[in-house]
Symmetry: none
Subunit: 401 residues, 2 copies
């Protein structure tokens, strides 16, 4: 169902929806046939939500596809991540919470090292430490090419963000300058369309100045640019679902993706108490709340099965407090799986639990991957969860007469 | 997910994937509530693959749709058969392993019988036996119309293949000449587009010569042409999945479909030992292996439940030898169901089993339709199997940052 079709059936309601994301929630057993992290965790409060609700599995992008954080969260917000794609430059801007505006052109930059002839020796300048790359970014931030206002911000190690804010709207269909190999010079800035030539010319001039600025550096004496992108023109989440939407997350990337679809977002301290306090404080002012827990994903990436289990149990402990704030429908899930076994994101489908609203019989008695596999809510695409939550919250009228 | 989107996330790996297709594997019980062919067969070796893997059901085309061999296999190769359609002429060429080249125009021909006025009496010329139609094809193969090189090859009974290899590239959007009724003359060769007129004119001249050539035949004195088609310009399987791909099949149709998507294919003797030997011989030279077992489908088409059971058990017996060759991920399934009860292909979803790669708990302990229905890998579209196998073989990077 298209987002515009969803927007057509929204009707007014004062119900409240809570989306609690345990980043990388889905897991794997350490031994064949064993229990996952979620199945190992004692989760009495989450389990108690099942009877007046239900559970299931969702696929964030497609079967077999391992999502990044951007696509993972877009799916949970109702946006099919194969349709709603974010340019790399924009993702980089979201990740450092740069105040990207309509018309801004964001690009991911890499410091690289070139030899005397200008051929690339190292595409990442030896993964230049952030404390060395940040001062270089300050130098590049001084460069101003007529026709736009220019910004350069450090990201991490050899990575940085370049933003051009054109004086008038410009197209930005421009090829990467990274040839993705060494022994050759960086590619020239090349427009892929006639209308993108003015901006490509400005970026070419910017690159020339960057080369001169960096010429004396032993490592990181040149730049590569990738993923020229502007903010997408998508249906806004508050318009699609007819909700005032609020996001609370400790990490900028997640606030960034929430803002990208039109939510308001606040930075909070890491930790569950801070998230719960945010919900309690805002419950009357918004209809939809996205609370983001990062710890599960970090523990998974670290390969720390026990810590992931412990964090899931900490989340479980705060559930009564979240419920007490009064949400009508609660959706608990992850944006993807991050099994400790794999120390990385994975393609495995993600368990979810929905509570509130009229429900059929649920056979699962505890929240875990195996129970979710035969759960009463079935196996869904990630972007089908939000419509289901909205329906249970009484926010949709009939489709068709 | 589009094939081009899949190609974007492939990364290098030396893992090996084995796709073992038991043609028409899916079955039905002979009595209400009974066991299917697969459920009746003793399959200890296949069953042993389940714990470190999982099972499920796939729908080859869409719910309720019975696939032919072409769409069935395209789905297993990752190509949605509702998007990637093969023209009838091309399918006919694949079936007899005609060396169809880019730009060739392939058409399915039927011998028919017309009366003195030229009206069709029998659209299939009494299903002319192959031993009578083959010599007529030799006569037709002599016909050469300027502008192309022409080939005619017998297929079976009243069916044959015509191929025009134009001297220069030509469009082939041309209507069938079969009116699909008797008592009327064959339709003229008619172009559906301006650009297809030159080729239509050449085919019209060819049909005139064919009529003269066949005039004295008592049965099969005229031809009908259907499904003008050229080789499609699709993403190649080796490019999409980043694998060197090899197909082994005793029947030309299956080698043909494999070649159509860019695999290399070898003819092998009928029988499982020949397939296993082929895998052993090629294991170092390729990354993906498609082995085709025809017997299950033939037994199903013959309505021979017991023989289908026996062939499944023969396949099971060779599984240890296949595993010993060293594939990292094994996918065992069918291209469609061919229940002996129905003596034909059917629309029923097809059981599949995947082994290798990080896995959740699988509740099924034996490989069969009922266990697959609640299997840990769920219910998939056929074209989702290949991405899942590639993911489990560690061949995909993340989608999005």
């Amino acid at each position: 169902m298209k987002l515009t079709q969803i927007a057509d059936i929204v009707h007014p309601s004062d119900s409240k929806i809570l989306l609690l994301v345990l980043d990388g929630l889905g897991g794997l057993p350490l031994e064949t046939g064993g229990r996952t992290e979620l199945e190992t965790a004692r989760t009495p409060n989450l389990d108690a939500l099942l009877p007046a609700g239900g559970c299931g599995l969702h696929d964030p992008v497609a079967k077999g596809i391992t999502p990044g954080s951007g696509p993972g969260h877009l799916g949970l917000f109702g946006y099919d991540p194969l349709v709603y794609t974010i340019g790399r430059g924009v993702l980089e801007a979201l990740g450092i919470e740069f105040d990207l505006r309509d018309g801004d052109v964001a690009v991911r930059g890499n410091f690289c090292t070139v030899d005397d002839r200008g051929d690339i020796e190292d595409r990442r300048a030896g993964r230049l430490p952030t404390e060395e790359s940040a001062p270089l970014c300050e130098l590049l931030d001084e460069i101003q090419v007529p026709g736009a206002t220019w910004f350069v911000r450090p990201v991490k190690e050899h990575r940085f963000l370049v933003v051009a804010r054109p004086d008038e709207p410009l197209e930005s269909d421009i090829d990467d300058t990274d040839p993705e190999m060494t022994g050759v010079p960086p590619l020239p800035v090349t427009a892929r369309s006639e209308a993108s030539r003015p901006l490509a010319g400005m970026f070419a001039a910017w690159v020339d100045e960057a080369r001169e600025t960096l010429a004396s550096q032993p490592s990181g004496n040149m730049v590569l640019l990738r993923g020229f992108a502007q903010l997408p023109d998508w249906p806004r989440f508050p318009d699609v679902f007819g909700v005032r939407a609020f996001a609370a997350a400790a990490y900028p990337m997640y606030r960034g993706v929430a803002r990208l679809v039109g939510m308001e977002a606040a930075a909070v301290d890491d930790g569950l108490e801070a998230l719960a306090a945010e919900l309690e404080r805002r419950i009357d002012d918004y209809d939809f709340f996205f609370l983001h827990v990062k710890g599960t994903d970090k523990a998974g990436e670290d390969g720390d099965f026990d810590r992931k289990v412990a964090i899931i149990e900490e989340v479980d402990a705060v559930v009564p407090r979240l419920l007490a704030a009064g949400p009508d429908v609660v959706l608990v899930t992850g944006d993807h799986s991050t099994p400790a076994l794999m120390r990385s994101h994975s393609w495995h489908p993600v368990p979810f639990l929905m509570h509130g609203g009229p429900s059929r019989r649920e056979s699962a008695t505890s929240f875990g991957e195996t129970g979710c596999q035969s759960g009463s809510l079935g196996r869904l695409h990630s972007w089908e969860l939000m419509p289901l939550a909205a329906a249970r919250a009484g926010r949709f009228a009939k489709y068709g007469a």
